[in-house]
């Protein structure tokens, strides 16, 4: 399912700005972006890709149990990520590495998750309200909707003060749209008119199942059935991803109710490092999407605006250093203390857990010291 006539686009695959009636209201949003902001778009996309390449290498070398690449989806994530305001909350799935970088998480925490050191990794309130990854498909869309209901109950949306009014964005994929939870989230969001943006990254594949098996209709059209305004954008175009997200988030923040964006993109890598995409998709398809690459497209655009070699070389160096730093820190990661397994199962004391923790400590102590076991 590639681009259609309905797909909004500001930047052609060749990297040229496209003007059309359909995108007329989006262009001014992009025109407000400064050169520094545009450079930042490129920088984060490049860092994210370097992170993905390094993560894949580390997995292949046995340093990470599993890797979930975002390769190819950088523009959808960076555009929407920069469209948020500081007070907004983000409920990701498990592939939104670029958004995490934008919101200030330390990517080593993502490595810790996939290395088997934690189920979470960071505290959302201390990291740009970027919530921790959710592995069960679509579950997070309900959490996002509930959070957004809370914003409404608190009177923190639709007051006419966009600088302080809050909104929520939730990420999910084409596979998740078949989940009951995503559909229930859309029902609840519509019922309670939540200040919320549903951001669907349609990367064409749910592991090995193509989107054509998930839906007989373009996915953005489903939102209409819930009474939620929606649009389909070229997810490999960082400018339209930004502009559409900005517009829809501001409408939701202003009390207009939920919005839905389908960003058409492509999972250039495997679903995870355990997957083998050569078993189910063709080289021709991958080559087709490689030609639509979000980063080279945006680089062409920036160069056409006068950005020179120096900037791109600088970013390449920074990305290489970034990857090297991740590698070094990954190899330095320790193992959590055994007792940590029992901590935080509950917020309040629980006798069974405490008993088992004590038992294990004694058991281990007995083996650690021969005298103790006598």
């Amino acid at each position: 399912m590639s681009y259609t006539e309905a797909t909004l686009q500001l930047l052609s695959p060749a990297g040229a700005l496209v003007e059309s009636d359909a995108t007329a209201e989006y262009l001014p949003i992009v025109e407000k972006l400064s050169d520094d902001e545009l450079r930042e778009f490129h920088r984060v996309m490049a860092l994210t890709r370097a992170f993905d390449v390094e993560g894949t290498n580390l997995q292949r070398q046995g340093q990470i149990g599993i890797w979930v690449p975002s390769l190819g989806q950088e523009a959808a994530q960076v555009g929407s990520g920069f469209a948020m305001r500081p007070q907004d909350h983000i409920f990701p799935s498990y592939r939104e590495h670029a958004v995490g970088i934008i919101r200030g998480i330390d990517v080593i925490d993502i490595v810790r998750l996939f290395r088997g050191l934690t189920h979470g990794g960071w505290t959302p309130s201390e990291h740009g309200n970027f919530h921790i990854y959710t592995m069960v498909l679509g579950s997070q869309t309900l959490h996002a909707t509930g959070y957004a209901m809370g914003i409404t109950l608190d009177g923190k949306a639709g007051t006419g003060h966009p600088e302080t009014d809050e909104a929520v964005i939730t990420y999910f994929g084409d596979g998740s749209t078949s989940q009951g939870d995503v559909n229930e989230a859309l029902v609840f969001a519509a019922s309670y008119q939540t200040p919320e943006l549903f951001f669907l990254q349609n990367n064409q594949w749910a592991i090995s199942v193509p989107v054509s098996k998930q839906s007989r209709t373009p996915l953005y059209l489903r939102a209409g059935g819930f009474g939620i305004p929606s649009v389909q954008v070229d997810g490999n175009d960082v400018l339209i991803s930004y502009a559409a997200s900005r517009k829809y988030l501001e409408e939701a923040r202003a009390g207009g109710g939920p919005r839905f964006i389908e960003a058409l993109t492509y999972r250039m890598g495997a679903h995870t490092s355990s997957d083998d995409p050569t078993k189910y998709r063709t080289d021709a398809e991958t080559a087709h999407w490689a030609a639509l690459d979000p980063i080279s497209r945006f680089e062409t655009y920036l160069r056409s605006r006068g950005e020179g070699d120096d900037f791109f070389a600088e970013v390449r160096t920074e990305a290489a250093d970034f990857a090297e730093d991740i590698r070094r820190r990954t190899l330095e990661l320790g193992v959590p203390p055994v007792g940590a397994m029992f901590d935080n199962v509950y917020s309040e004391p629980h006798p069974l857990i405490e008993e088992e923790k004590q038992w294990l400590a004694q058991y281990e102590a007995a083996y650690a010291s021969p005298e103790a076991s006598e």
Binding site: L142, A148, L153, F188
Partner: protein, 327 residues
């Protein structure tokens, strides 16, 4: 002014919810038909009129949606109390309860709490169609991260619902629906026991009977009948299914030497099985007979006309008492 009042459990729960909502503006109720109707069992009757639609929310008919959005509201600082209309309807929410609600504090390494209460009217004795009479407690008691409680009296219902709401952990609150309407005395001034404690409902010396929810009334009836035959029976009200307060159970077993556990749920891999195993481990030398279980059968809950056969009654409990005494 007396703090004592005789009222049915449904009204006691209503009073407890009202008190919790008055005490904390972050307490909100969510569920199907809980607004103008007051819930199918009328437990929330009048609350929406008094607290408004923002605090007593009639939700769309989607259980996973109810629990999933309650999680998000809890992340925002609210203390949601969800009503699941009937026991058999909790399963569409099972994933959100067991994979999300129960694990989010752990997943956040203690960074957030999940003060969410899931109220579930459960159990048989009401002659209803399929999915309306089940006892699903074992699924939840088996899930780390959840607390599971069940009151048997209006007094406990009034206090336990407030304690459950003030807990920072998720609590599965099982309401024995066949006990919604019998009246009992509620002391509005004196709390009594803590949430997670086993209670002695009747003192005796020869056999200990243990149960929770609606089964406690059956056990008390059995104890009366046993007394007529000269057998002294102690009755324990479990109240908390996770965690289980073993102190009073072991104390009672050490005194009587015999334990019969009764429950409406199927017996295989049940809460009763867990207690039987633990008592055998910890009070082996005090036991005069094996721990016996009287349970629902390991069949789907039968059509209503057979429910009196399926559900343990005083006769089946007494048959087990006789077996225990015969060792």
């Amino acid at each position: 002014m007396s703090a004592l009042e005789s009222l049915p459990m449904a009204k006691a729960l209503n009073a407890g919810l009202r008190k919790a909502m008055q005490d904390d503006p972050k307490v909100i109720l969510m569920g199907e038909d809980i607004g103008p109707l007051g819930g199918v069992f009328r437990v929330t009757e009048g609350l929406q009129a008094d607290f408004g639609e923002n605090r007593v929310m009639d939700t769309p008919l989607a259980e996973s949606g109810i629990v999933g959005t309650a999680i998000g509201l809890a992340m925002r600082g609210y203390r949601p109390v969800c009503e699941i209309q009937f026991d058999g309807f909790v399963f569409p929410a099972f994933d959100q309860i067991t994979s999300q609600l129960a694990k989010l504090t752990n997943r956040h390494e203690g960074g957030i709490s999940m003060p969410v209460v899931i109220r579930i009217p459960y159990g048989g004795h009401i002659g209803a169609v399929e999915h309306h009479q089940e006892s699903p407690e074992a699924y939840f008691a088996h899930t780390p991260g959840l607390r599971v409680v069940s009151p048997s009296t209006p007094h406990d219902a009034y206090w336990m619902i407030q304690d459950a709401i003030s807990s920072d952990d998720p609590v599965i609150f099982l309401e024995p629906k066949s006990r919604y309407w019998p009246k009992g005395e509620v002391d509005f001034a004196v709390r009594g026991r803590t949430l997670h404690s086993t209670a002695v409902a009747r003192v005796g010396t020869e056999v200990t009977l243990l149960g929770h929810g609606a089964m406690v009334a059956v056990l008390l009836q059995a104890a009366d009948l046993a007394a007529e035959e000269g057998t002294s029976v102690e009755v324990l009200d479990l109240r908390s299914l996770s965690p289980i307060d073993y102190g009073p159970i072991l104390e009672s077993v050490r005194k009587t030497g015999r334990l019969v556990i009764a429950q409406e749920a199927p017996g295989a891999v049940s809460v009763g099985s867990e207690i039987a195993a633990t008592v055998a481990e910890r009070a082996f030398y005090s036991l005069e007979s094996p721990v016996l279980r009287v349970s629902g059968f390991d069949t789907p809950f039968p059509p209503a006309k057979l429910e009196t056969i399926y559900l343990p009654d005083a006769d089946r409990v007494l048959e087990a008492v006789d077996r225990a005494l015969a060792y």
